[in-house]
Amino acid sequence: MNSGLAPSTNGSAEVYAVRLLKRRRLDGGTFEFTLSRPDGFSFRAGQRIRFEHPTGERDYSLVNGPAATELQVCVRIVQDGHFTPRLARAAIHSRFDISGPHGYFIFQPAARPAVFVATGTGIAPFIAMARSGVRGFRLLHGTRTADGLYYQAELRAAAAGYVACLSGAAAAAAAPPDAFAGRVTAYLAAHLAPGAYDFYLCGRSEMIRDVTLLVDRRFPASLVYSEIFF
C-alpha cells in the first residue's frame, strides 16, 4: 500500500508518486492497471485519480472499492494519443504522479430505484460502487461488441438487473443470451417502465445527452447524475 514516496504539491492538489504494479488486458485495446496506493490517499467509490503527466492531465475513475490496498483504473489505449500508449508500454514498477481523489460521481442512497448506464470504459465507477457494497441497482452497459463487457460476472452478481446493450454490426458473436441488440437509449425507451428513478450516467457525451433528453421526456420526476468521459 505504501509507495514509499512522499507526496508533493502541484497547485492546490496534492500529488502522489505511485508505482505501476500490474497490467491486465481486458480486451484488444483496454487494460486494467494496478498502481500502488500511497499512504493517506483516501477516496470514495466513483471518484477519479488524475495522472499528472508532462503531456497533460488525464483523469480515470478508480474501479476499486475504497478499502482496497491498491489503486486500479480501466484505460482504453488511444493509439495516436500522448499518454495512454506510454502507460501501456510502461515497465512494471515505473513511477507515475497522480493527484486526487477528484469528482463527485458518488452513489446517493435513495428510495427511488437506481439505474446505472455506462458506455465503454464508463463502467469503471460502477464497478467501484459494486465493490463498495452498493446493491439492488439496474445496470445497462453499452458497447459495440461483447468483448467490451468488462467485469460482467462481477456486475451481474451485484446488480438487480444487468443488460448488455450491443450496438455493433457483429454484436451477436459471443454475446450473452440475454443481451439487447441496440443502444442503451433504445433499451431505456422500450423496456424501462415509466416512473421516477435515480439515473447515474457515465460515458461519452453523446450518450449523456441522449439519455438525459430521454429522461426529461419519459421519466421527468427522476434525478440524473452524470460523469462524462472525454
Partner: protein, 189 residues
C-alpha cells in the same frame, strides 16, 4: 476536448442534487448570479494595480469560496449530495470582516454617498459589489420560498457571507482608489 453535451439544449439542466429543472428556475438564477460575480472578480483581479497586487491572493480565495456557494445553491435542502460539499462557515464571514477592518483602517472617513468608479480595478470592485447584492437578493428569495424554517436554514450561512462580501467589495473599491491616489467622488445633489 468537448465541453458540451447538448443535454441542456431543450432548456433544462441538472442540479448537483440530480433534479432536472428549467434553466429559468430560481435556483439557477441564484447560482448564475454567483457565477457572474466570480467572473467579475476575475476581471477585477486582472485590473489590480501594482500598489495592491497582494489583493490578488484574496480575490483568488473569494473565487474559491464562490465555487462552494454555487455548489451549495445547486443542491437541494435535505439532499444526500450535500455531504460532498464543503459548506462555508462563520469563519469565512469572520475572515471577511477582518479584511474589511484592515482595509478600512487606511481609508479616510466616509461622510456621504460616493459615485462608483475611479481606477479600473475599483470600478470592477463596484461592479462585483452590485452583482453580489443581486445574488444576495436571489438567495433571500430562495430562503423565503423555502417556507419551512429548517429549509430556510439551508441558506442562512450564504446570506451572511454574501452580505459581508458586498461590504468587503465596497471597501475594496475605496481602497483601490486610495492606493492609486484617486479620491472618492462624492455624490452631490
Amino acid at each position: 476536448m468537448k465541453i458540451y453535451t447538448g443535454g441542456g439544449d431543450q432548456g433544462r439542466t441538472s442540479l448537483f442534487s440530480g433534479e432536472r429543472v428549467f434553466k429559468a428556475h430560481a435556483r439557477i438564477d441564484a447560482y448564475g448570479d454567483v457565477d457572474e460575480l466570480n467572473s467579475v472578480l476575475g476581471a477585477l483581479a486582472a485590473a489590480l494595480p501594482d500598489q495592491a497586487a497582494e489583493i490578488g491572493t484574496k480575490i483568488a480565495g473569494l473565487q474559491a469560496d464562490l465555487m462552494k456557494v454555487g455548489a451549495w445553491l445547486a443542491t437541494s435542502p435535505g439532499s444526500p449530495a450535500l455531504a460532498q460539499i464543503e459548506a462555508l462557515t462563520t469563519a469565512d464571514a469572520a475572515a471577511l470582516e477582518a479584511a474589511i477592518d484592515q482595509l478600512d483602517a487606511d481609508l479616510p472617513p466616509l461622510r456621504s454617498f460616493i459615485l462608483p468608479g475611479g481606477h479600473p480595478a475599483a470600478a470592477w470592485a463596484h461592479m462585483a459589489r452590485t452583482v453580489c447584492r443581486r445574488a444576495e437578493r436571489r438567495v433571500v428569495g430562495l430562503a423565503d420560498a423555502a417556507g419551512d424554517p429548517s429549509r430556510q436554514d439551508h441558506f442562512a450561512g450564504l446570506l451572511v457571507y454574501l452580505n459581508r462580501l458586498s461590504d468587503y467589495l465596497f471597501v475594496l473599491a475605496r481602497y483601490l482608489n486610495h492606493v492609486t491616489g484617486i479620491p472618492d467622488r462624492m455624490w452631490k445633489k
